[in-house]
């Protein structure tokens, strides 16, 4: 019986390009100013045009300033304005959809695309960004590519692709209270390695997935990039269909509704690899090293197998307790954990408390839509009153691009997806965790989970 991925692949398969490569129709191309601008420029230089501008979208997110009240061209990295202005100019010249820095729909591409109904169940969708796998959460055939492939998709409406092998990650039972989709993702990567996805299309299924909200699924699929997968996918259900209907770019079409309802299949089989996880065994996670696979449940100590380079960079030694390490910074945001439910979770932890005096804490909503909804709920007041900076949407402090960041050697707990050396700035020591753990750590001033806060508590 074909898998859901097989069904989408076949639906988009134009023809065999040779024995192993297929020509796959691409329904939507998403671009951003960091790598999309150069793709449009290079395409124009070669004399190719955009095949169907109405199905190509440029969204500014990577290096836009996250400063409240930012200017239209303001970048967070020195010289970064050019990426914004050049992408704007080329997007306008090409006649594609542009979601500019001052557009109320602007946000991180993987946050904005679902919100705007650009990403939909059953669509094929590519973007020159590794976290495009997030959109598999909606039941889309979505994957990250390079700039050259983006040029190819924009010019031809298709890609020449080798069908990946498939992996089923079946998650039995339900996650315990206080354990999030982020913890599940880190647990999976820590258990099977940063290359554990084996370049497969990874389908998540099972009872723990069925009860997840769409936002939780987006978080889980997002980190397939850190798992070394080709992409991630979850067969769409009623929750997804209810989520996508009525959004600005979403079709108001009975045919589409019927099509979506038929996509939701009974469980498929025939995957090349199967991993089973008992959700009840997953605990809140924290990374200690410089690869996302170097993660552990909070409360564990740095393992004896730790590599020297990672220990040196992180300023840790074997056997050291990770919980309780003093921190200098906390960041909540990104395409992994910058959605409304993430902010609600963090706010529930910090409500009535204050960030430790020596900690710089920053919260950047993933999009203007998230920010507006959060403000309507009064979450901004909770963050600001606690001592968080409340930022303007974009990728923000998930990665350093020059400009403002934490100091070298600073220890930062972050709701982002990568703890690579220098990822958040030269010498910055990143510990990845869920928004709940980031919020608790910001308040405690040390790495902490939300449960321990009542002991450590710092009340406003």
């Amino acid at each position: 019986m074909p898998t859901y991925f097989d069904a989408l692949w076949d639906m988009h398969r134009i023809a065999a390009a040779d024995e192993v490569y297929d020509l796959i129709a691409i329904d939507r191309v998403l671009l951003h100013e960091r790598t999309g601008g150069v793709a449009l420029k290079s395409l124009a230089e070669k004399g190719y045009s955009v095949k169907d501008p109405s199905r190509v979208f440029a969204i500014m997110d990577h290096i836009v300033s996250f400063r409240e009240g930012r200017g239209r061209d303001e970048a967070r990295s020195p010289g970064g304005e050019t990426f914004i202005t050049e992408t704007r100019r080329m997007a306008n010249d090409a006649g594609i959809h542009l979601i500019d820095t001052d557009n109320p729909a602007q946000g991180i591409v993987h946050v904005a695309a679902p919100e705007q109904g650009i990403a939909l169940p059953g669509l094929s969708l590519v973007c020159p960004d590794s976290h495009t796998c997030s959109l598999g959460a909606l039941g889309a055939l979505a994957w990250g590519i390079g700039s050259s492939e983006a040029e190819h998709a924009v010019a031809t409406g298709c890609l020449r692709v080798k069908k990946p092998k498939q992996m089923l990650v079946r998650v039995e039972n339900e996650l315990p209270d206080g354990v999030t989709a982020k913890d599940l993702a880190l647990h999976l990567i820590a258990t099977h390695g940063a290359a554990g996805g084996k370049r497969c299309a990874v389908e998540f299924a099972g009872p723990a997935i069925q009860v997840m909200t769409v936002e939780e699924r987006l978080t889980l699929c997002n980190m397939a990039a850190e798992f070394g997968a080709f992409t991630a996918i979850i067969a769409p259900d009623e929750a997804v269909i209810a989520y996508v209907r009525g959004r600005p770019f979403s079709p108001d079409s009975k045919e589409a509704f019927l099509h979506w309802s038929k996509l939701a299949t009974s469980e498929s089989s025939g995957h090349d690899e199967i991993i089973t996880i008992d959700a009840r065994t997953v605990r809140p996670q924290i990374t200690w090293g410089t690869s996302p696979e170097e993660a552990l449940p909070l409360g564990m100590t740095v393992p004896a197998t730790a590599k020297k380079a990672a220990l040196d960079y992180m300023g840790l030694s074997v056997g050291e307790q990770i919980a309780g390490l003093p921190i200098d910074g906390a960041f909540i945001g990104s395409c992994t954990n910058g959605r409304l439910s993430d902010l609600q979770l963090a706010a529930s932890v910090i409500r009535g408390r204050r960030v430790a005096p020596h900690v710089r804490a920053v919260c950047v909503p993933g999009s203007w839509s998230v920010r507006r909804e959060a403000e309507a709920l009064g979450l901004d007041r909770i963050f600001r009153d606690a001592g968080f900076t409340w930022g303007a949407p974009g990728c923000a402090m998930c990665f350093y691009a020059g400009g403002d960041t934490f100091a070298p050697g600073a220890r930062v707990v972050s709701s982002t997806n990568r703890n690579f050396e220098g990822r958040q700035g030269p010498g910055v020591r990143t510990h990845l965790a869920s928004p709940a753990v980031v919020a608790a750590s910001a308040v405690a001033g040390v790495i902490a989970d939300a449960q321990s806060l009542s002991v450590l508590g710092r009340v406003a």
Binding site: Y21, D129, P248, P251, A309, Y400, E421
Partner: protein, 210 residues
Amino acid sequence: MPDPLIRHTGIAAPLLIDNVDTDQIIPSREMKAVSRTGLAEGLFAGWRYRSPGSREPVPEFVLNRPGFERASVLIAGANFGCGSSREHAVWALAEFGFRVIIAESFNEIFHGNCLRNGVLPVVLKGVSDLRALGWDQATDLTIDLAQQTVERADQPGWQGEFDIDAYPKHLLLEGLDPIGLTLKSADVLDQFEQVDRVARPWVYKDYSAA
């Protein structure tokens, strides 16, 4: 388009670390222009130079060691090129002079980016631990794409083999433009779209304009 790659001989530089990510290959702060060029100087900047923004070399880093400065074959560990999809990582490697990367395994997107920029990614058949082959002394490697073989100047008689699919092999050997190649099938693409427009009309309609 990149120069065709048929047979390449060059010095092999070992960087035998697992999970080397594209942030290490080219830090985002080194991507200063909307361009595919001007990136070689920023290659491995975090490891190659003493401090961010400086260009003072770290003598121990392989590309700063005597004999390796002009390496054109990189020997890497597992999951090389993981992380960000930035093609700048491959542009930086290529501009520095790398034509071949031999790794224990590659990240999917990085692997594809190599093939589109005239850089050959190689996984040697039957070799799970590249460290065991010994790379401390600078030596010339010859990679023959047509034959799919690797030979070492310092070990006559040793030969490695690798697999590559027909399409990427063709791209590299000929230095082809994939877009031009695909547009030759324009009829097939159009036929598919005509049928698909009937089956999935909503995909082709711009609802935001309504």
